[in-house]
Amino acid sequence: MRLADGRRRLRGAVMLMLVLLSLFAGRLVQLQGLDATAYADEAEASRLRSVTLPATRGEITDRNGVALATTVAAVNVTADQTLVTDPAATARALSPVLHQGVTDLASTLTGTDRFVYVAKGVTPATWREVLALDLPGTTGLPGIFGEQTSKRVYPGSGTAANVVGFVGADGSGLGGLELKLNPMLAGRSGHATFELSAGGSRIPGAHDQEQAPVPGRDVQLTIDRDIQYVAQEAVARKVRELHAKSGTVIVMDPRTGDLLAVATYPTFDPDNPGSSPQADLGDRALNEVYEPGSTGKIVTASALIQRHVVRPGTPITVPNRLTRAGKTFKDFEDHPTEHLTYTGTLAQSSNIGTILAAERMGLRHLYPFLRKFGVGKPTGLQMPGENDGSVPPLASWSATTGYTLPFGQGYSVNAVQMASVFATIANDGVRVSPRLVAGTSAGGSFHPTPASSRTRVVSARTASTVRRMLEAVLGPDGTAPMARVPGYRVAGKTGTAQRFDATCGCYRGYTMSFLGMAPADAPKLVVAVTLQDPKGAIGGGYDAGPVFAKVMSFALQSLRIPPTGTWSPGLRVFAK
């Protein structure tokens, strides 16, 4: 009986255990067999962390590798206002380190926001100082945190800002080359996924995936920082002195099309672009067009010489007034009837003389030359906001168009196009499209930009004749003795153009310019100076000439270009 009892109890216990165990087994099957993946995923997700690995933005350097734009490590100082125990004391501690007012800081730190920015983009050194700060009674500043970030800096402090451009708050390009080359400069950010333990440390050997970021490519420009600086300073001084609207200086190597300097004023501070008006954030040398005026006579001269219509010594009788198509044309100054050579009409910049000479060729024949010199055509730089200017096509010519084009009015160009016209003559008649990017590099391998396209516009003989004629512009009877560079033969042309003002739809004010090349017998450099709407200005030679001389002189020295040691032929200006 006792034995039977025990056996029953045993059997009961076994049964109970079996039931329990099968319940467990069932649950086990449910967890491990049926819902396993869902639970495993959930568990892993609670440990997994995914972070974006930002790509380093490429540098922008000048032609010698000097950084014009670079990226540095920085820290954003943030605060959790609910954790800041004593805003006033924290503000007092932070104030001298972050160079901010105590009251401003205190108001930033007071409140219930869990995340506010206290200071953006401070240097790591400053952040270390912040870390070392203590409140009385506590170590460190409660509620103050650091966020690792990077910052775009422009070491040249505004040198070539118009070319380099600027970036927005998120670090992507918003202007200039920073915008145009953004995909290349930015690279591709990577990401890492790994498992974190409860303590927050990375679990080695667990799920670990990393896609390394692809750093942005470095971009080397054709700009020479020092020449750019001198050009920028010179044009800024002149624009301020003459209260001009704006000014540009372009320095170009005519043989390669390399733009060594593209300076404009007013410009902007790339470290703080928001403080400048929108109009100053672009590149005036490419975005603004104007009527070139007398500097355009170089195209007329090239056409006339190329087509053998005139020679430098061809006499031209220039009256004080000339009536064509119902309009009376005149020169800048009143003068008695003059007996000039064709060279003389250039040296003294006679509009009437130029019209009379162009008439010998047929006015319509000028049009294809303007086009071949690149007027009204894209420069090929493809910079943001570029304006190509325009020449009225033959079909749309009015009765006077043919008479104004020879002296550079009635069509529009940007400063780089005009520099390129002079560079064509400097390069023996072959036009090399301008270039701003010398090449890009990544991981030490440099990829040069393919050489610019070359087109012959006029013969080398024509170009050399035109250059000799243009030397007379800087001669004793020319319009631009102020543009001389002592010791060098310089060929150039002044421009004092009537300026078309879009606001009134009329001609108001002037565009003063001087474009030239040196050494005149074997040009290595072209410098183009343009001043828009200077007040109280006298003429291209007087206002732009000295800027030309200063920039050209510096560029020649800087690039170690010696004088050729030859003498100017001194072509006759007055006909016998």
Binding site: V72, V153, E233, F332, N351, G487, A497, R560, T564
Partner: protein, 201 residues
């Protein structure tokens, strides 16, 4: 051990049966007894010591390894921190160098020292010793430069005086003289018209 004990027992049994064959009963019947195991009390101490030594040395080694690893990781942390600090310093110094080397700053400091940009570049051609260009002493700006930082203030006046002395007797640059002549003879009043009729020059 067991085999040996059995073997001993077998020998004993054999020894015991021998007198029985002589069929001599009596009190002389030998007593059966187990032969005591020969080495039952082999010294245990060395073995225990060996094991103990092995265990403790293993433990010690493990401890040492852990300590070394921990120490290395501390060192790594220290070095990483100092590497980060040095990288930050390098970056700060590079930026400061870039600021100092910026052309604007250099130009400012040079002019504070009384230097002027050369406007008369000249070259000596080594092949024939000919001087290309027109070398000329620089002309100091007339007033002392407005930004005169204290360290270079003493050098500045002497330098400008010297430069001025060099060019004191000479007239201004030729281009400038002629420019002024021409400028004087020109009418500075431009004409404005609704269409470009040739006021351009």
């Amino acid at each position: 051990m067991t085999a040996r004990t059995q073997g001993t027992a077998a020998v004993a049994r054999h020894a015991g049966t021998a007198p029985r064959r002589s069929s001599r009963p009596g009190p002389l019947r030998p007593r059966l007894a187990l032969v005591p195991p020969m080495h039952a009390t082999a010294p245990r101490a060395p073995f225990v010591l060996l094991i103990g030594a092995l265990l403790s040395s293993g433990l010690g080694l493990l401890l040492f390894l852990h300590t070394a690893l921990a120490e290395d990781s501390f060192r790594l942390e220290r070095l990483q921190a100092s590497s980060a600090l040095l990288a930050d310093q390098e970056q700060a110094l590079e930026q400061s160098l870039a600021r100092q080397a910026a052309p604007g700053r250099l130009a400012g400091r040079a002019s504070a020292l009384g230097m002027v940009p050369s406007e008369n570049p000249a070259f000596i051609r080594l092949s024939d010793g000919r001087v290309l260009g027109k070398p000329k002493a620089g002309v100091a700006p007339p007033p002392p430069p407005p930004p005169a930082p204290s360290p270079s203030a003493s050098a500045s006046p002497t330098a400008s005086a010297k430069a001025a002395g060099h060019s004191g007797g000479k007239p201004g640059p030729r281009a400038q003289g002629q420019g002024n002549r021409n400028r004087a003879g020109q009418k500075p009043t431009p004409h404005v018209e609704a269409t470009p009729t040739g006021a351009a020059r």
